[in-house]
């Protein structure tokens, strides 16, 4: 378990080199990915459903990236893109291709899984992005001033 989480940190940092993340944000991005993966593993053990695990961990990652972006004054995508990477359904895509070649009846299962995980991630990003865009309606601001 510990090895898996450490692996996630180094994997995300290595991926940051590939996408040319500014050097000073690499550790924070790696932390985002690591926390997201830890939450994913935990939720997978508790709930036994990949889509719920992906949803909860993507929510954590997105919230964390928005907070980091505001604290460090950097674009949100600096942390969101590397952070989301561990939970992207690469495995399901591979298993789809494998099942397709073997003419296995699991093809639709894996395709379903990939779409569910992708949908969960999308939903989480949608949700957190819109929460952080909220602001007080104008009438409240005015009443404060007067």
């Amino acid at each position: 378990m510990l090895f898996k989480i450490i692996g996630a940190f180094i994997a995300v940092v290595a991926f940051c080199i590939m996408i040319e993340l500014p050097k000073k944000y690499m550790v924070q991005a790696g932390m985002t990915g690591m926390v997201g993966w830890a939450v994913y593993l935990l939720m997978d053990m508790v709930a036994h459903r990949v889509e719920i695990a992906a949803l909860v961990s993507a929510l954590c990652i997105a919230t964390m990236s928005h907070i980091l972006a505001r604290v460090l004054k950097a674009p949100v995508s600096n942390f969101l893109i590397p952070g989301i990477l561990p939970i992207v359904p690469g495995g399901s895509i591979y298993r789809c291709a494998y099942a397709f070649i073997r003419e296995s009846s699991y093809l639709s299962t894996y395709m379903n899984e990939a779409l569910k995980i992708a949908g969960s991630i999308a939903l989480a990003i949608f949700f957190v992005d819109s929460v952080f865009k909220l602001h007080l309606p104008k009438r409240f601001k005015k009443s404060k001033q007067t």
């Binding site: 180094i10 290595a14 991926f15 080199i17 040319e20 500014p22 992207v88 690469g90 494998y98 992708a118």
Partner: protein, 257 residues
């Protein structure tokens, strides 16, 4: 094109060219559409003209600036796309310095021109990042020592294939497919001939991670949410095309071996 010292061009013209250059660089680097438009508008504000518009699609840019000497309109097709977050970050900083008055437009233009080709990591380190991603993703998914080492070698095969093929100008679909193929061939070859009981699934999942379109997917989602539906749809399509290339590459390796 304007260079910094050319004073014969009007200010508006230089502003428009700077905004276009900034937008093009950001779009190639894979920024969200709303961020590109926001940055371009911030640069166009510098001209103090009454109205200006930057209209950005996933594959091209149009800008209009209503200046005193008439309308300036420019459009540019942007067929290239990569991921380079550093450039997005730097241009964002330049545009903020420009609107805060810490920089004039000629400085900004030459600065952006420099950023257009900036690379933080080149050569060996870039190649090693493929190895690192493959190796540690396998570790992350729970592979043992043998799996991780084989994944590292497979990642190296992918890096070498990319290094060898990019100068020929292969299009991205074939590049992705062939580098996945060489990666998967290495992994399957190791399983057939060396380590019969290694976990081939984890090795291949780790190995395809450098190419799996996680970055484009995230950007597509954020574009869609911001109301840039054309960019969202075209990036989702790009995700599908890349995923298909990966699937074909892996499948071919199983067919061959």
């Amino acid at each position: 094109m304007a260079d910094g010292k050319n004073v014969s061009k009007s200010l508006e013209r230089v502003v428009a060219e700077t905004a276009m250059l900034a937008g093009e660089t950001m779009l190639i680097a894979g920024a969200e559409i709303s961020r590109v438009e926001d940055t371009m508008n911030r640069i166009l504000d510098y001209s103090k003209c009454e109205s200006h518009t930057a209209f950005v699609l996933a594959t091209g840019i149009t800008l209009t600036l209503d200046s005193d000497e008439g309308l300036i309109t420019m459009s540019k097709r942007v067929p290239e796309r990569t991921t380079n977050i550093n450039r997005i970050y730097l241009i964002n900083n330049v545009s903020r310095a420009l609107s805060a008055g810490k920089m004039d437009i000629y400085e900004a233009y030459s600065e952006i021109k420099k950023i257009k080709d900036v690379r933080q990591f080149t050569g060996i380190l870039y190649g090693l990042s493929f190895v690192g991603v493959a190796l540690f993703f396998t570790m992350m998914l729970g592979g043992d020592f043998t799996d991780c080492m084989v994944a590292g070698v497979a990642g190296l095969a992918m890096a070498i294939t990319q290094w060898a093929l990019v100068p020929f100008g292969f299009n991205s679909f074939f590049l992705n497919m062939i580098s996945t193929l060489s990666m998967a061939l290495t992994a399957v070859g190791f399983q057939r001939f060396v380590f019969a009981n290694m976990n081939i699934d984890l090795v291949i999942i780790g190995g395809i991670m450098p190419i799996v379109p996680g970055v484009i997917f995230t950007t597509a989602m954020r574009d869609t949410l911001n109301g840039d539906y054309t960019a969202g749809v075209s990036r989702m399509l790009e995700t599908g095309v890349v995923a298909f290339a990966v699937a074909v590459g892996v499948a071919l390796a199983y067919v061959i071996l």
